[in-house]
Symmetry: C2
DNA sequence: TAGATTGTTAATCGATTAACAATC
DNA sequence: TAGATTGTTAATCGATTAACAATC
């Protein structure tokens, strides 16, 4: 982690993809790989691979290429996947439950330690190995337990209220599934948005205009 | 839909966001808006707003601005949200169920007409107003019913098999929640990927390197 | 008409690609 | 040593922003 002054978001958003492909190669017991070969597999240019990796350090060796297992580990570290950031989930609806059950948080740098929902019906339900608590417990829980980030799987209209509480408690990292603009209210937050409906509208557009869209940014 | 030769993906991916903000303004009964005002609300530049909109036509009026309701409708049309593309869902696990229950497909240009799962346990379950069918019925169903697109909420390892069937049946539009690279196997497909774990890894990176990430592309 | 704001062209900025000297 | 492939600089390409003439 030496050179990482102001890495562009374009590069950052490609890192998980590198990590995935390198993990696969590693599982297939591939020892080394050249930027050209990796680029081929990933459908990008060799230049991009080398430029991207060199944002973080010179992981390769001239005339040889990159060690797959080493590079995989480097990127894992750069991404911070060895962390166990404590996360809480707000909202135990369909989406919240899917997120809780479906994701392998431990491999992604997180640990899900609690879930809250404002509906009495949900309270007491089990998701993975955590129990849904009433939202009235939220603040108390956060004061008693260190919480790094909140995953917001609640409707847009509910976000502001919860966000204000969380922010006041010092939680400033969010995985946000709503269309509420968190950064707009609190600018010193780190927010990753998942806008499923935007994504689906984009699919709709592209189905409509199939013949002539550019290829750029297709992936991801 | 006149000028739309090769609109860049950057522009396309911004359209849903315009649509959202304009819908809101419209609900607040705002009649007209200037590019400057809209840009302010959306946290972008006025130039970008005007450039983006002018990819599709001159919707504004000099000295006046844009009619909110008209512009909203224009974008709705550009996105094709008035369509009712017939969609089927493959996979009734946590994620599939969340997708089926959580999304307001009709407002997004789609209609969910069936759901399939390869597990006997799932068969017969009700999601929204559709019943989960065994995956063995898939091909038969697709031959008897027109299907425009498939939403893939199944594990990566299951995709290839299902994809081959769907593609053979002429289905070439996919909303893909797995890491399987559909475009790689069939290049004449339209694919929108939702890579939740990539997204979460990006959050992890940014939590690690909070102080010094660029702002570009933060939104979306 | 005067003021406002668009549509559009030109300038800038950043990201991607190409090229090649360094070096394993 | 000769061949391969990196790290890095320079060139290109595309996207964003600024500027302004057209016009409502």
């Amino acid at each position: 982690m030496s050179k990482n002054d102001s890495i562009s978001m374009s590069v950052i958003r490609r890192l998980p993809r590198y990590y995935r492909f390198l993990s696969e190669l590693n599982e297939e017991n591939v020892d080394r790989i050249s930027s050209t070969k990796l680029a081929q597999i990933m459908n990008v240019t060799a230049s991009q691979v080398r430029q991207d990796l060199n944002c973080f350090g010179g992981f390769g060796q001239q005339g040889y290429g990159y060690s797959v297992s080493q590079l995989k580990e480097e990127i894992k570290n750069i991404l911070g996947l060895n962390n166990h950031y404590k996360a809480i989930l707000i909202g135990a609806g369909n989406l919240g439950r899917a997120v809780a059950m479906h994701m392998n948080f431990n491999k992604l740098g997180f640990e899900l330690i609690a879930c809250f929902d404002n509906s009495e019906k949900k309270t007491g339900e089990k998701l993975a190995d955590i129990t849904v608590q009433p939202e009235t417990e939220l603040e108390d829980f956060c004061r008693k337990n260190h919480v790094d980030t909140a995953f917001l799987c609640i409707p847009r209209v509910c976000v502001e209220n919860v966000l204000d509480k969380l922010y006041a408690l010092g939680i400033k990292n969010y995985w946000n599934f709503s269309h509420y603009d968190i950064n707009d209210r609190y600018s010193d937050t780190v927010v990753e948005n998942v806008h499923l409906s935007d994504n689906l509208m984009t699919l709709c557009y592209r189905m409509n205009n199939n013949t002539k869209t550019t290829r750029a940014q297709d992936k991801s």
